[in-house]
């Protein structure tokens, strides 16, 4: 921006940021006063925001082994804030319209979906392959942990490092930690099996095939209590598999918690946070790796990438397998957290839900995807109900502001309509998402090489 010469352009970066930050904080406080009640916690939030935003931390001239320490300040501070979230969430102010801050259980849910969104982002954001059946990987992970850590196969009796399961309990009971890895690997294999025949298709045909797999796998889960009339109960049909063992180590069982400090929710929350950090780290490093650059090359122009010697099938299959791996781990962790898995959890809607997170946040950008995923997962769990409550008390029957409608509106019922509107509006007006990667934004605005419909030669 070349605004030099004007008053604003002559200010230093620090002064400009101070002005913008202070304005944002004051507007936030004013909104809070107008629509909700002001609370001391709002002051802290404002101060933390100013402390992180105003100084140009990434220009801090301290280097350790060539790594600029300043770049780590903001991410580390955000991680610290996330780590300590269980201690302050219930003392926070009421956000206007949205109501209280999400509770820790919702936090676990959000983190699980962040993980899935990061996984899908590898497929959609990096490699540019539209996957409408991501829910199949989620289901695969959830059922893996359900098979090997529950009483589902009661004829067998195998215990291996399981925590909180009596030795007489029938069925497979393998440590959930091992199962997370196993679920990831099995799901990655599923991804490869799905991918090998289909990845040669381009664009929308691939999308519809993945959609097909996303419908077939849950249908197998739904009808799997008596597979082909053989009487073999694989998935327990629509009743789902429950209960599923919880993770733990030694005397610490996640289901019951350890003591009043390490409660069940907090243990799950911190573990999920750790998994998300690992996922984000892997995703970030992968993007800059040889493989990641190959993904981006394929996304931008498949023909050119192939001409430069990028092996298309292998690279795409790796994208699929990696995305599937994270989806599987997230699904397994979530099934263990919920202690249940039902075929009804794996509808096409969920695939679109996760896709919506990636698109809203910004395809290809990890920070954007994390923000998009946490916001939408929060809306799904608490946000929409809170907003609906606020709307109904203010504008509903006998509303405190004006009564516009006479019967209360069930806002969460229209959740997917709202997500549909989000998809539509984002694609029409800001296709690169809220926090885009600059490269992806350029593609959307300048266009990419035209993709032929299908390609059966590779």
């Amino acid at each position: 921006m070349t605004t030099a010469g004007t008053w604003w352009g002559d200010r230093s970066v620090l002064e400009r940021r101070l002005a913008i930050g202070a304005a944002a904080v004051v507007i936030g406080w004013l909104l809070l006063v107008a629509f909700s009640s002001f609370d001391l916690s709002a002051v802290y939030v404002g101060l933390v925001f100013l402390a992180l935003y105003v100084p140009a931390w990434n220009r801090l001239p301290i280097r350790v082994r060539g790594i600029r320490m300043g770049r780590l300040v903001v991410p580390l501070a955000l991680i610290a804030l996330a780590l300590t979230y269980p201690f302050y969430w219930d003392r926070m102010f009421q956000v206007p319209i949205f109501g209280p801050f999400p509770e820790v259980g919702t936090g676990v849910y959000m983190l699980v979906f962040i993980m899935m969104a990061i996984g899908l982002n590898i497929v959609v954001g990096y490699a540019g392959l539209l996957d409408l059946g991501y829910v199949a990987f989620y289901a695969m992970g959830a059922y893996t942990v359900a098979w090997f850590a529950s009483v589902q196969f009661a004829k067998h009796n195998l215990h291996f490092w399981a925590v909180g399961v009596g030795s007489g309990v029938p069925g497979f009971h393998i440590s959930v930690w091992l199962l997370l890895l196993l679920a990831g690997l099995l799901t990655a294999v599923t991804g490869v099996i799905i991918g090998l025949p289909t990845l040669r298709l381009r664009g929308d045909y691939l999308a519809i095939v993945t959609l097909g797999f996303g419908e077939i796998l849950p249908q197998i889960a739904r009808n799997g209590d008596n597979l082909f009339g053989s009487g073999f109960n694989l998935t327990n049909g629509p009743n789902g598999i429950t209960p599923i063992d919880s993770p733990g180590f030694g005397g610490v069982n996640y289901l019951t918690g350890y003591n009043s400090f390490f409660t069940s929710d907090r243990l799950f929350y911190w573990t999920a946070l750790l998994l998300v950090l690992l996922t984000a780290f892997c995703s970030w490093r992968l993007r800059d790796s040889r493989l990641g650059r190959a993904w981006i090359a394929i996304r931008e122009d498949e023909t050119a990438a192939a001409a430069m010697g990028v092996p298309l099938m292998r690279t795409k299959t790796w994208a699929y397998a990696t995305g599937a791996f994270f989806g599987g781990v997230a699904g397994a962790f979530y099934a263990s957290f919920k202690s249940a898995t039902f075929p009804g959890d794996f509808f096409f809607n969920i695939s679109v839900f996760i896709l919506c997170m990636v698109i809203l946040g910004g395809m290809g950008n990890i920070l954007g995807v994390v923000l998009g995923a946490s916001f939408l997962a929060y809306l799904d769990r608490e946000g929409l109900a809170n907003i609906g409550g606020w709307l109904n008390t203010h504008f509903g029957p006998g509303g405190s502001t004006v009564g516009i409608w006479s019967t209360p509106i069930d806002v969460p019922k229209y959740e997917f309509g709202i997500f549909g509107i989000i998809l539509l509006v984002v694609m029409l007006f800001r296709p690169e998402g809220l926090i885009p990667s600059s490269r992806r934004a350029a593609e959307f605005h300048e266009g990419v090489a035209d993709q032929p419909l299908y390609d059966v030669t590779h």
């Binding site: 664009g203 929308d204 519809i208 097909g212 419908e215 739904r222 959307f444 266009g447």
Partner: protein, 350 residues
Amino acid sequence: MATAARRQPITIPQKLPVLPIVGLVLVGALVAWLGVNLVKTPYDFLEILLIGVTLGAVYALVALGYTLVYGILELINFAHGDVFMLGAMMAATLTVQVFNLQDNESATKWIPVVLLALVIGMLFCGTLNATIEFIAYRPLRGAPRLAPLITAIGMSFILQNIGLAWKGSNYVPIPNILPRGNVFHVGTADYQWNKLIVLLVTAPVLVGLVYLVQQTRQGKAMRATAQDKDAAAMMGINVNRTISFTFLIAGALAGVAGLLYALYVTNVRYDQGFQLGLLAFTSAVLGGIGNLPGAVLGALCIGLIQAFNEGLSWHAPGSDWTQSIVFSILILILVFRPEGLLGERTPEGG
């Protein structure tokens, strides 16, 4: 390819043709299964066949909508199934709430009402589909191909929620307005009037569509736009208007299908459009997407497959597996024969 003339002929190493063999084995198994069923219960087989043809006729109308739009824009219009669903809801509203038709209505009453509902439904769905194109697809003409696909999914969810808000989350029941007397009766197999009426409405619509695409100026413009938008524009064709017109026609077909579905199946729910849309899309791909006769052929196949799967008694997987079977067919077709049964890769089958 300037060097093509000098190039030596390449000898391709002969491999065992595994895929055709697997395909033949699968088709053979299917034929054998049908044959056994035919011998065991011939009259049931006939009755189920006729059900399949009826279902196929409804699917054909929806599949034609997919194939017309795909032919011209190369876009899978995910929202199309939901346009069909809203058409069925419109038909339910008109016949039940506005004109208050009951079970076994007299012919002098239901025929004019159904014809009126047909016209209104076609106008409603056609306008709706053209509006969707205007809002969600037209602004994205130059964008990457995935962008309009994503807005199509968004639009599909929005329409589903409109249906949900309009009629609630339960099945909307519709009385048996069409007569259910037998047209003919062979052994234990019956063929009722309501099935015949579905065909009697579908056939002229298909003929009209073929006439429109093949014989009229507007149809010529559609075919030209499908082949090359730039060249069509240079020939003086208003490309955007032609695309809107195609969406209008596709929507009108969905409106016919919605009415027939509402009257034949006699219930409709907000999420049925999406499911049926996927079946219809599979039909379009099976026949060769962009190919009009192909869409009808594919829809008949899918209708028969669904009816046989759900109706036959000897070793049929049953309705629990219909979707899996249809999607497996879709995947197999896309992977091994993406040009579909009729083998035509050019859009807007000529």
